[in-house]
């Protein structure tokens, strides 16, 4: 099987040429069998380099091309298009990685050149067995699934819906809004969080292109880019959404209250049938079955009795629904959790009443909160006259989270401002390690706080205790901190302490990554395709991420990531069809013995058994081309396009050419043998 192979070795400036003797490799490659022409060139990926390939294909009638340069993840596409322009099927091409895997990893010029020759030889042997393949068209379903109804999810959904595409927005809580709905003001503009959020939520609620599925979770995801089938469990609200007008009488009449640990962060109560907050979207309440007397002991039904609608909207027999949704792309915007501050016992949260977390303080200071905006201590009456705000609780700490959570400095400044505003003669102490104000108008906000007379202490708080040593400390919380700028250990007596905890990945983020088959890092945040150039895409085609689920970030970044993910998806939908690698498996019917070993091997259930023909068959559309079945087939009846057994076997032979035939390596072997025996 003789082919005319063109071999091109790239200098890549000095990146390769510095350690690999490219001329020698080119000359050596020139006189290998099947090699028609072998050249070395300064920059193969430059247009001149590509023209070299084009002209050689046309003039020399090359039938195969091998380029030894950087990683295929960098320029495989460039050289494939060059082959195509030369009239050669792009898959009759093989790339050899002699830069990342070779020249950059050693200074040993002789070893690097020897390795380069071996890899090139392997590629030449392999490329001879390459077959012509065509890119596979894939229809993109225009619907999109957005998981998570926080500000990032809302932005993504609105962008796509306004672009005219249909969006399914799935939210685990009874209402969308996420953590932002709990905040009072936002930095640095001090806009009221609800004022800027609720209009967006209403827009989502009323948008014809958005199907809102709250109090729902994704149970299962099948399929691939363009054709995902998602099973969503719509948990029973025990409210009939068609009839309910959202009047709220049922909430009023419900005689039972429970502490609201989710929305009110445990600071106040909610009824057993409840809406998380007045501006909730959708407006339908939901029954908390764990505490509802009817579900526990079968009595009460007060909500049903007082419900004014005809027919009655309360439906105790309602069951969870399972919906199957077909979408083309998925955007994950699942948000974050707050670090559990009780993990740092020396800060006394839980033991000392007046130590609050930032979320608790947000609810305290919120006009719609339990104290309608009055900053008071845990007894819900006495306002504090001295407040300490502790930065970096659980962040920048090897024992908890090594990373900086990016937003705590700014919202701690916001808290200081709110205390000054509500309690003009209160003293505020912010204990920080570094004041990080990297955004637009952020540093100015910090200056504003300095002018407002906040005491900034540069030092991380060591511990918070109520065991006083002097009368002045009696009955107060004492914040012990080393003020590093004056190198004094200070004990500051205060009435209230606010802890700014780290932003953590969701507790179940690992489960989500398995569900959607993409990756998460050691801390549990989702892994983007490229940290700098591709932050909203993931390694899995068709799955995009936005907001705090990808890493700690503030609202403006979450909104822009939401919009970015939406733009990526909109781009795919607009193209309608996407061409993907033809790397797929296929079964040669005659050779298949029907042993069915491959049937349960495929994670995508792409292999089915044809009963009458008694052979297995592969649904090419479902196959992702991993090749596991190809390797498992005992009678080699399954072949994997572009990674066939012949191709790989010949590549193995090729890269070990110098061991099999080459003399000097055997000489080396003999000399060792003598010493050895």
């Amino acid at each position: 099987m003789s082919e005319k192979v063109g071999v091109y070795i790239c200098h890549c400036g000095t990146n390769i040429a510095k350690t690999v003797d490219v001329e020698d490799v080119a000359v050596w490659a020139g006189d290998q069998p099947d090699v028609e022409i072998a050249r070395d060139y300064k920059f193969m990926c430059s247009s001149l380099g590509q023209d070299l390939i084009e002209e050689d294909i046309k003039e020399k009638g090359l039938t195969r091309v091998v380029v030894a340069a950087c990683s295929p993840h960098m320029h495989e596409k460039t050289f494939r298009t060059a082959c195509e322009r030369g009239g050669l099927n792009p898959f009759l091409f093989e790339m050899v990685n002699v830069r990342e895997h070779n020249s950059w990893t050693t200074d040993d010029r002789e070893a690097a050149t020897k390795k380069a020759k071996a890899l090139v030889n392997g590629a030449v042997e392999r490329v001879i067995y390459h077959q012509e393949l065509e890119m596979m068209p894939l229809e993109i379903n225009p619907n999109t699934l957005v998981v998570g109804g926080g500000i990032a999810g809302i932005s993504a959904s609105l962008e796509l819906a306004d672009a005219g595409y249909h969006v399914y927005l799935v939210e685990r809580e009874p209402s969308i809004g996420g953590h932002m709905a709990q905040l009072d003001k936002t930095f640095p503009t001090l806009d009221c969080s609800a004022c800027i959020l609720t209009p967006r939520m209403v827009e989502v609620g009323q948008h014809p292109n958005i199907t809102l599925l709250t109090w729902s979770e994704v149970e299962n995801v099948e399929g691939y880019l363009g054709n995902f089938t998602v099973t969503v469990r719509k948990k029973a609200r025990y409210i009939n959404e068609e009839h309910c007008t959202g009047c709220g009488i049922c909430i009023e009449k419900c005689p039972f209250k429970v502490t609201d640990d989710v929305f009110e962060a445990g600071l106040s109560t909610r009824k057993v049938i409840y809406r998380p907050f007045p501006q909730a979207v959708p407006k339908y309440p939901v029954i908390d079955t764990e505490n509802c007397v009817y579900f526990l002991r079968g009595k009460c039904k007060a909500c049903q009795i007082f419900c004014p609608t005809e027919p009655n909207s309360i439906d105790f027999e309602q069951q969870d629904e399972f919906l199957n949704i077909d979408v083309g792309n998925i955007i994950l915007a699942t948000g974050y959790d707050l670090f559990d501050v009780s993990k740092i016992p020396q800060y006394g949260y839980g033991r000392l009443a007046n130590v609050f977390t930032s979320l608790e303080f947000e609810r305290l200071v919120n006009a719609a909160g339990p104290t309608s905006g009055n900053i008071v201590l845990r007894d819900m009456e006495t306002p504090p006259d001295k407040v300490a705000i502790v930065h970096c609780v659980g962040s920048r700490d090897e024992n908890y989270h090594k990373y900086c959570s990016k937003v705590c400095c700014m919202y701690s400044l916001k808290f200081a401002h709110l205390v000054h505003e509500r309690l003009p003669d209160a003293e505020v102490y912010n204990c920080y390690i570094d004041m990080r104000t990297p955004g637009k108008g952020y540093e100015e906000f910090y200056n504003r706080l300095l002018e407002e007379g906040t005491h900034f202490i540069r030092g991380k708080v060591a511990d918070i205790t109520d065991s006083a040593r002097t009368d002045e400390e009696e009955g107060k919380l004492i914040v012990q901190v080393n003020d590093t700028l004056i190198d004094k250990q200070r004990r500051i007596p205060v009435d209230m302490v606010i802890l700014s905890p780290a932003m953590e990945a969701r507790y179940d983020s690992r489960k989500i990554t398995q569900l959607f088959r993409m990756g998460c890092d050691f801390d549990g945040f989702f892994v983007e395709r490229h940290p700098k150039l591709d932050p909203v895409a993931t390694m899995t085609e068709g799955i995009y991420i936005a907001g705090a689920c990808q890493g700690p970030k503030d609202i403006p970044d979450s909104v822009s990531q939401g919009a970015a993910a939406a733009a990526r998806v909109a781009g795919l939908i607009a193209r309608g069809t996407v061409y993907i690698e033809p790397v797929r498996a296929s079964i040669i019917e005659e050779q298949c013995s029907g042993c069915r070993i491959c049937n349960n091997l495929c994670p995508y259930n792409a292999i089915i058994f044809n009963e009458d023909k008694e052979v297995s068959e592969i649904i090419t559309a479902l196959c992702q081309g991993c090749g596991t079945c190809v390797a498992a087939c005992p009678s080699a009846a399954i072949t994997g396009a572009h990674f066939t057994n012949d191709q790989l076997m010949s590549q193995i032979e090729g890269i070990l050419w110098d061991v099999g035939k080459g003399l000097e390596s055997i000489k080396k072997v003999e000399s060792v043998a003598e010493i050895g025996d």
Partner: protein, 187 residues
Amino acid sequence: MAKKPTFSKEIANLLYASHGNPIVSCIQCGTCSGTCPVAEYMDHSPRRLIAMINADLKEEVLESNTFWFCASCYHCTVRCPSGIDIAELMYAVKRYSIWKHQYKEGLVGPVFSETFVKTIFRSGRSYEPILAPSYIFSRGVRKMFEEAHTATNLMLKGRIPVLPSRIERIENLQRVIGRIIPTGGSS
């Protein structure tokens, strides 16, 4: 010819056995100095001492009393967000200062440690009467009476050993010590 190691490199080498991160990873956050129970008695806080070591201020470091006031309670070590074994660092600086016989005037610590080591070399076990009083005399008459008062109370309760207790195989122990420090012990 290898460069002469800087002071901070020397201290870092002394820390090779300690199992924390190197002191260059200190972010100067002040948790150690906020936690330290005796920080107010130190002329430089542990945090500042680390900064001075990293800045190779050898004289000022050896002149400070910080590491002599360290009670080795390890509270800083367990809380350090950069995982530095700060108590171990204080031990290392003490060892460096004793080897170089370079420490602040009038400190009781160094003399106490050297005497302690000599007692062990001689009898294998420590003997309170030698250790305690010989330093209190150097601190003024009033302190001497207070200490004598406490010592007599303890004597009355039979809690002060009269004879120093020796271990039987003291020669073996001395030879064992000799194999570690060839100069026949640090006497």
